[in-house]
């Protein structure tokens, strides 16, 4: 059971892989475009982050300016109050102004911590912005690289396709050429015809020999003629002298 389970799992995985490969091959450009779009979205997100960080930095800087302005105003206000104290002789007024000066000094002391905090927040906002800018620059560079690579890959694919077409055309041509050189049909037919001719000639010769063998006419070999002559009681001409042969001829007429 475990075997079949594993077997089916393995088949399933292989099928899945094949499907993915097929899909990738079928829509390679679609996938790469999607990857670029994803990267563009990342860049856009960083652009938004940068805008937010810039607004935040402006706000933090303004906060620093605001609190430093307040510090200056308070210091200036204390100077004015001290002048007013110096210019009056009314003890109640002096007491009232002095209490305000004391209150302002206390506020100045208390706000030092706030000033430090505001400065720190502004520095952090500046640092955040610098970091986002750097990341954005990197993401942009990556996007540019992806675009460049995609364009190069597209060109390479086009070149490869063209090369493949050329190679196919060459291969077809070579195949045609090879087909022309290797086509021995005619020769084969001719060879067969020659063989057939030889066979016919051989058979004809055999027939001729047979006919010669079966006939006692000329053309029969001297040995055979001798044998026939001997069988018929005749002396072979070859053993006869010219005179005998002439006589024989004459008697045979």
């Amino acid at each position: 059971m475990a075997f079949w389970t594993n077997y089916l799992k393995g088949k399933g995985k292989a099928l899945n892989k094949e499907m993915k490969m097929l899909a990738a091959e079928a829509d390679m450009e679609g996938y790469t475009e999607a990857a670029i779009q994803t990267q563009m979205d990342r860049v856009n997100a960083f652009v938004n982050d940068q805008a937010k960080a810039e607004i935040n930095l402006t706000k933090e800087k303004k906060d620093v300016e605001e609190i430093l302005q307040l510090q200056e105003d308070r210091l200036a206000g204390i100077s004015i109050l001290q002048e007013d104290i110096a210019n009056t002789t009314d003890p109640d007024e002096i007491a009232r102004l002095t209490s305000i000066v004391e209150a302002e000094v206390t506020k100045l002391e208390e706000m030092q911590e706030d000033i430090a905090r505001e400065k720190e927040e502004a520095a952090e906002a500046e640092s955040d912005l610098a970091e986002i800018r750097e990341l954005l620059s990197m993401e942009k560079e990556k996007l540019d690289t992806m675009r460049g690579t995609l364009n190069k890959t597209k060109s390479a694919i086009e070149r490869a396709n063209r090369a493949e077409e050329r190679a196919k055309a060459k291969a077809d041509l070579a195949a045609k050429k090879a087909g022309f050189a290797e086509d021995n049909t005619f020769d084969d037919l001719l060879g067969a015809a020659k063989d057939r001719l030889a066979e016919i000639e051989q058979r004809t010769r055999a027939t001729t020999i047979k006919a010669e063998l079966l006939s006692d006419s000329k053309g029969t070999s001297s040995d055979m003629q001798d044998a026939i002559a001997r069988a018929k009681g005749k002396v072979p001409t070859s053993t006869m002298s010219v005179a005998e042969r002439l006589a024989a001829i004459k008697s045979g007429k």
Binding site: E66, Q69, L70, D73
Partner: protein
Amino acid sequence: MFKALKQKIATFIHKPVTVLQPKEFVPFDLMVGSHLKIDTNSHVIYKSRCTIPNTNTVSSIGTCVLGGAKAFRFYFNNSHFLQVITNQNKQIEECRLFALIDVVYPSTMETWDMWLNDGKGRIGSFEFKLDHNDLVYTRMSSWADDELDWVPPVTFTEVIKGANEVSITHQAMSYGRWLNEDRGIAEYLLVSSDSSQHEENICTYIGIDVNLNEVITYF
């Protein structure tokens, strides 16, 4: 045994969907009833006639749209409000405390005409002098062209939300004078003909700039 549980589950499944609304931006996150303290001595140091409210509770909040900007008015009572103007990025551009120094209920057409006459009414004139002293306030160049002797009052509508909601139409002009020109410390005068469903009057406020760090909020 499970009847109660089933009912609870059914209620949970079929309960109406609550759509959360984004919280409306309000400077300092203030709301009606918030406690707000203006911790400044500028009015004393620079001898402004503006005063600090004697209460710290925000009784109502008024808003008006001024182009891309928005003005919020945090009313302490009928005598003071803190005006905060924000830009499109919701950043605070201006923060001023105003104290009511005069209210006029014109009872005759002549009195209305004195304030709102087209071409020579007090609201819109280049300079504004308070009745009871010789202090002269100059029309704010941010409100109108300096070269014109008279301009029509700026009209805008303010919606005030407190115990009730009230809509007020203002026909106003802003003026100012230097308390300390070297340090850029000014005193402002806001003169406004206010018209609502309930009443019509002429209000005069005196204001000073308030540093944002002098606005202390308690909730």
